[in-house]
């Protein structure tokens, strides 16, 4: 654990001008740290819990910024500030829940600096782990957050596997619910990974939260037209109205025919180590009327199998009710 905080150690800073340059640096330096908006990074550095020798700052790579129409959907550069997404007219019109999710992040200042890519790939906020405790995720052999006396109000109710930390992202559930594709580049080329597969739990790899390995970059997010203009819902519950991570958030999209739900996507954040897509709920919703009763049974199904820890039992009714509200809202919006 660090003996001194709030003092960033020295490192070699590289500021490549293009993606290829960045990838070359990542290939060359094993422990290179990728820096975007810095909001996840600098906490780690200030606490001296992560101290890479090499930092690759993507800030100079203009090709990573911007929101573009692409085919029948949109492509958003990974370095696009969250505030650009929140204020983008076409995104607001076609994918309102993504704009709302971006707007729910932290504070206006953070959203001007923070990027969509950074919000997606950010590390978990488990305070034991962030505090530099030598836990499983940090390479140790204990989870400090899951003992009989641990403080784990913010931790997971699903998907625990040695680690009980959650994905803290607001944009991630929205992207999962929109069937977004993550564009990943490495020196060997580009691949597209569905958002639902991009995020991984500790049972897959306890040391990282996405499929990205150290030599890959998330360069863009592609949002297909699948749910463009369809009814969408995003809600985040947090302690304060600004500068707080979600206690639980929900993102949902619905294709409807009259009152009937033809197809739905429902994803919930901050309940599992990854944004959790609720496929069973989606299946149950197909062919049902969007109303409070349907919402209620969707909420009940959503929390089936949840395993609360000592201090986070409230996440069950909260998740249940947020899923219910998402479904019920699809009804009210029809009127």
């Amino acid at each position: 654990m660090p003996v001194i905080n709030d003092m960033i150690p020295e490192f070699d800073l590289f500021q490549p001008a293009d993606v290829d340059g960045a990838l070359e640096l990542l290939a060359k330096h094993d422990d290179a740290w990728v820096l975007a908006g810095g909001l996840d990074t600098f906490d780690w550095f200030k606490d001296r819990a992560k101290r890479p020798d090499v930092v690759v700052d993507l800030g100079a790579i203009d090709q990573l910024r911007g929101i573009r129409e692409q085919g029948d959907g949109y492509e958003i550069g990974a370095l696009t500030p969250l505030s650009d997404i929140e204020n983008h007219e076409a995104i607001k019109a076609k994918f309102p829940m993504l704009a709302q999710a971006a707007q729910a992040v932290a504070t206006p200042q953070v959203r001007n600096q923070g990027t969509l890519g950074g919000n997606i790939v950010q590390d978990t906020r488990c305070w034991y782990y962030r505090g530099g405790w030598p836990c499983y995720r940090a390479g140790g052999n204990i989870c400090y957050a899951d003992t009989p006396t641990s403080m784990n109000r913010e931790h997971c109710i699903f998907g625990a596997s040695r680690c009980v930390a959650v994905s803290p992202s607001d944009s991630a559930p929205a992207l999962v619910a929109l069937d977004a594709m993550m564009v990943v580049r490495s020196r060997s080329g580009e691949r597209e990974v569905p958002a639902a597969d991009f995020f991984i739990g500790p049972s897959t790899d306890i040391t990282r939260m996405t499929v990205l390995n150290g030599r890959e970059l998330l360069v863009a997010i592609r949002i297909p037209s699948t749910f463009a203009g369809a009814h969408q819902y995003f809600e985040k519950v947090r302690d304060r109205n600004a500068w707080d991570f979600p206690l639980v958030n929900v993102a949902a999209a619905f294709k409807r025919n009259g009152a009937t739900i033809e197809d739905a996507r429902v994803a919930v954040g901050a309940v599992a180590p990854y944004p959790m897509r609720l496929e069973a709920v989606e299946a149950q919703l197909r062919g049902k009327n969007a109303d409070e009763a349907t919402g209620k049974s969707a909420g009940e199904l959503a929390i089936k199998g949840a395993k609360p820890l000592r201090h986070n039992g409230y996440k069950l009714p909260l998740m249940r009710n947020l899923v219910m509200r998402a479904v019920r809202d699809a009804q009210s919006a029809q009127a």
């Binding site: 003996v3 709030d6 020295e10």
Partner: protein, 803 residues
Amino acid sequence: MAIFGKDYTPPDLHAKITGRAKYAEDFRADGMLFAKVLASPMPHARVRNIDASEALAMEGVEAILTADDLPDLGPLSERALTMEPLYEGEPILAVAATSELLAAEAIEKIKIDYEPLPFALDPLESLKPSGSNARVDGNTIVNERTEEGRRTVVKELRWSQDVFDEAGDHLPMGEHQDEWSYGDLEAGFAEADYVIEETLAHQSVTHHPMEPRTCMATVQNGKVILHASTQSVARTHGPAAAWSGIDGKDLVVIGEYCGGGFGSKIVGTVNMPIAALLAKKTNRPVMHRITRYEETYIGRARPGFQTWIKVGFRKDGSITALDMYIIQDNGPYGRQGDLSMGPTTASLAYQPQAMRFRGVSVLTNTPPRSAQRAPGGAQIIAMIEPMMDRAAAELGLDRLEIRRTNAPQGKAKVGPQRAEISSAFVHEMIDQAKEKLNWDELKTRSGQRNGSKVTGIGLGFSPFIGGVSGFDGLLVIKDDGKVHVHTGVGNLGTHSFSDTARVAADVLGLEWEDINVIWGNTGKHLPWTTVQAGSMTTHATTRAIHAAASDAKAKLQELAAAELGGSASSYDVSGGRVHPRGNRRGGMSLASAAQKAVARGGKFSGEELPENIHRMTTASATALAGQGLLGVAKDEYDNGGPLWSFVLGCAEIEIDVETGVLEMTNYTAITDCGTVMNPRSLAAQLHGGGIQGFGLARYQKWIYDPSWGIPFAHRFYTARPPTILDVPREMAWGAVGEPDPYTPVGAKGIGEPPIGAGQAALVSAIQDALGGKVIRKMPVMVENILNALEDRPQDTETLTAHS
């Protein structure tokens, strides 16, 4: 009064909004070193050995400071550095180096051999038979009266397991160490038509001033010049000298601006010696910047309370008896006054016919405590006010009326001594609130549903101390015709350092532009002044400056009579002249009066000084002697007993019953603070204090891992002070404005009570929205509301501290 009581532009405003104002961290000097501290990684330990050889061998590492370099001020006195850290984060040593980064690298290279010691985080756990002591010599801290006088001692106190077993859900109440009472408690409860009792908990809370306790020190000609972040200035000099072991005559304290303190920097900060002594040691300027992370452990905190309260009411709502037991989370050092101020505040707020208080102050290995805005008062008010609402509901009474029934009014009595307070205009305050709130309409909104949202209305009646007296005023009328008011108070953002000087303009019949306020530097000849804390400044300093200005006026009249003939009383002072009454153009200008005062000498120019002023004032006045006509006097005006101010807050909220999410829609605060000194600043106090109270009510707390004794809420985003987006859009205020009859200006302090009003109003509003469901623990987080709505057990136990 022509000047006092009106909005104006304080003399520090341009510097603040343009960024020219320099706080401690903004100072730089050639060759300046940076200091960093090594903080204890464990909650309680003994340092067996320090090996700093590798660090000291680094190029650019100039000095190390340890507890051995500091004066020993007794076992209970906290020092800047320690060999027995009593909480995680307590500084053990400091290093000065040519850069801050280098200082940090050096700290990492220091090897410390710790002997871990048992620790206690939770007062109740410490009182159990198997509990640990926070200090090696005991787990409680007691004020004892002995033949030699009062002393504070550490004692070991354990309660039997039976006490805990029998308590069930209620507060275990074993042997107490503090007690007072008045009236016949038993008879009071026997007489009651309705009795309510509750076990409740209030968290410990860090102060979180925006400016951390940074210090910068330089050494000039053998004197240490200390730029500090401090609430007071005149009263910081002595403690800074004592904590550092520097002779007072060799120390100058400069603190012209302070980014808030809330009671955490009353006489400066205990870390001041680090910069001062490293500067002395190296003979170079030293900057000791405190980061936000560090501020959350070496900053101060409000003590938490674990409490049992029982109240008896007659049918008409009047309180027959009030009984309370408080376990105070004292932190590791000096005994905290919250434990006695809480019940004292309750005794005034509710005027019970009989009352008893019992309590114990338990030492814990958590950050040091100090007074925080309405210490004790805010905690106890926020606990009792929701009980008042439940009693009103039970007895079918209006919530505003039940408060009027019990309100202190006029010469109300306070505390076990039943002392008569100076004044209270609480009935007038409640009348104003009733009208301003449109109460009869507002209260009908309680419990109204709008979709998934339910409305709650809450009241918070909060008294707190509003002044002291007996300090000195000092001013000089110079030959530029201006009045230079020297004031020893600090400038912690409330404007009171200059508001109080406006009295001089009124007494001397001048415009505000004719007044120059000199503050913030003990090298500038400051008078003996109250500490800038406990809302004492307004009352104490308006009186002291009034006394000095009146002294100057009398001297001007006497001088005019001597120079121009006639009697002193035939002269008046106004418009920049001392002139014959009825002839404002006659007589002489203040500029020439100043010259004549210097020529005459004696008392006029400060060569002769009053006997009754403090030695600090005497020294300052002596230094100013001969510069003009001196007004210097001790405040010996009448005193009407303990001085208290009052705020009634009203919060309107909406709670979403499906998520537990709370939105505040409206907050109004009405005050009795005597004469209003500065309306705009008063509004800022009422609303700012209210907002701080919202944070206490809703989300600010510590989280400790109980097995390791390590806290997590080190940053703003985890400690959660309120943000502007959590503040209701609609906020209003009002003031009764009746002067306190015993003070020439009539103004009372108003820094303290707004916080309890905001906190209590919000907690009461939550209870109201929940249809009277009781949440027994503060802060009331989203999950507490949701669990209550869902009839689920809470996820943390009421009586578990820091959870």
